[in-house]
């Protein structure tokens, strides 16, 4: 039996898989934010970045496949852990007080599943461009100057307040997920010490907050007319 099946079959092993895939996803979330923030450097910059990504098809697909594997593993493993944990407490307490558990910790499955819904919509919206007929080149009846005219696509997309609000809410919940996740990962991997257990949750919350500010700034800037 190899290491992967052994990890999968044990509770702690599954948590290691959740931790590693969560870290990989976090890496993506950080890199994606840095890419997206180029919206603030003008259309040429971000459109050239989009073109650069699309021009490197092999590495792009390699990264995408890696991400899909991590995403699916993360979700399947966490849902399996959630099921095990529910089964471990079949009879609920009539009255149960929690002494120090944080909201972010208690809502991991909820925040995760919202992120999942968001990711599905986000891919249909800006990657596959299925939800908006304007996201096509002019020759095909759309409003984009070229297939890499990401800038105008994002502006048009976020001018819809409903869509912008959904994006902001979703990155908010992602941030909540990560304010627990980033510190939890160190405990799962056995790297936490008495001292780091004091500052790590604060550092994680700060990183999560910065991520939220970064991601939310784009729809907020479009809605307020700062970006047009």
């Amino acid at each position: 039996m190899n290491l992967l099946t052994k990890l999968w079959r044990s509770s702690i092993g599954k948590k290691w898989l959740v931790a590693f895939t969560g870290l990989a996803l976090l890496g993506f979330v950080l890199a994606h934010l840095l890419g997206n923030l180029q919206m603030f450097s003008g259309a040429e910059k971000i459109n050239a970045y989009a073109e650069f990504l699309k021009a490197n098809e092999k590495p792009l697909w390699l990264a995408r496949i890696g991400l899909i594997v991590c995403f699916v593993t993360h979700i399947v493993a966490t849902l399996s852990l959630v099921r095990m944990n529910r089964a471990a407490r079949p009879d609920a307490y009539a009255l149960k007080r929690s002494v120090q558990a944080k909201i972010s910790t208690r809502s991991m499955a909820l925040s995760g599943l919202t992120v999942l819904c968001f990711v599905v919509f986000h891919l249909a919206h800006y990657t596959l461009r299925l939800t908006d007929s304007r996201f096509k080149v002019e020759a095909e009846g759309g409003l984009l100057k070229s297939a890499h005219d990401v800038y105008n696509m994002v502006i048009m997309g976020f001018q819809n307040p409903l869509i912008s609000s959904f994006y902001i809410l979703s990155v908010g919940l992602l941030s909540l997920h990560l304010s627990h996740g980033i510190s939890s990962v160190f405990q799962t991997l056995g790297l936490e010490t008495k001292r780091s257990s004091i500052w790590m949750p604060k550092a994680a919350a700060l990183i999560a907050l910065l991520l939220f500010a970064g991601y939310a700034s784009i729809p907020a800037a479009v809605l307020s007319g700062l970006l047009k």
Partner: protein, 248 residues
């Protein structure tokens, strides 16, 4: 003082249980929580009713036999065992919910008494060192640095009461298993069986049907021995290391 109690009553594992209300009257402030239940039971007996079954033994905070989830918190509102909880912690006229420790791995026997032998079986799976007995060895034959001894002692303070699993939303036993693993991993005597121990104990823990840690940190908040969740980090690390060595 007078108290309104809501106590979980259940005849046996097969029947359904329910919360039953009792009035506890004229309870001295200085009696312990278990003594309060003793008084309630005397009253029940004098009226020809079945007394409330609950676990207890030493009544001095060292054996880990007392349990009870009191107003939603295992061992109640003080950071001690239930036997060391005194009624002065409560207000006159207060309503107190008294429920058993709940986890599928702690099957209920009757009323508030649950079977916690799952912990014993985890311990028997590897929470020991195999030593040949003979003449007592010289006290300083194996040198242990003071910091290591302190670290081991902190973890060894666990009395195996099960409050960690009872408090955890996942009914996880990882604070208990982590304490046992950390205790022996800190000492030279624990090294030869270190990997075998952690693998066997975690496998037993999973087989018993406990959940696993999501870092809610509820366990360390209720632990009467003040075991820190850093022992869970050590458990995670030791387990992964042993599993990798076993498989690669």
């Amino acid at each position: 003082m007078n108290l309104h109690l809501k106590v979980w009553r259940q005849k046996n594992p097969a029947t359904k249980g329910a919360l039953v209300s009792y009035e506890a009257r004229n309870i001295p402030e200085d009696c312990s929580f278990l003594e309060m239940l003793d008084l309630v039971n005397e009253d029940l007996l004098s009226r020809g009713e079945e007394p409330i079954a609950f676990d207890h033994d030493c009544r001095e905070g060292i054996c880990g036999m007392c349990s009870l989830t009191i107003n939603g918190i295992p061992h109640g509102p003080s950071e001690t065992t239930t036997c060391q909880l005194y009624m002065r912690k409560f207000k006159d006229g207060q309503t107190i919910y008294i429920e058993p420790f709940r986890a599928s791995a702690f099957p209920l026997l009757r009323d508030l008494a649950v079977n916690r032998s799952a912990f014993d079986r985890i311990q028997q799976a590897g929470g020991f060192i195999s030593a040949h007995v003979g003449a007592a060895p010289d006290g300083n034959a194996i040198l242990v640095p003071k910091t290591d001894a302190d670290h081991a002692m902190e973890a060894a303070a666990c009395i195996g009461c099960g409050a960690c699993a009872a408090a955890c939303p996942n009914a996880s036993a990882m604070l208990f298993v982590g304490a046992k693993v950390t205790h022996l991993a800190a000492l030279p005597q624990g090294q030869p069986e270190r990997e075998r121990r952690v693998l066997a104990m975690v496998r037993r823990m999973d087989a018993e049907g406990f959940g696993n840690c999501s870092n809610y940190l509820e366990c360390e908040a209720v632990c009467p021995a003040e075991i820190s969740t850093t022992v869970i980090g050590q458990l995670n690390r030791d387990y992964a290391h042993a599993l990798a060595k076993e498989s690669l």
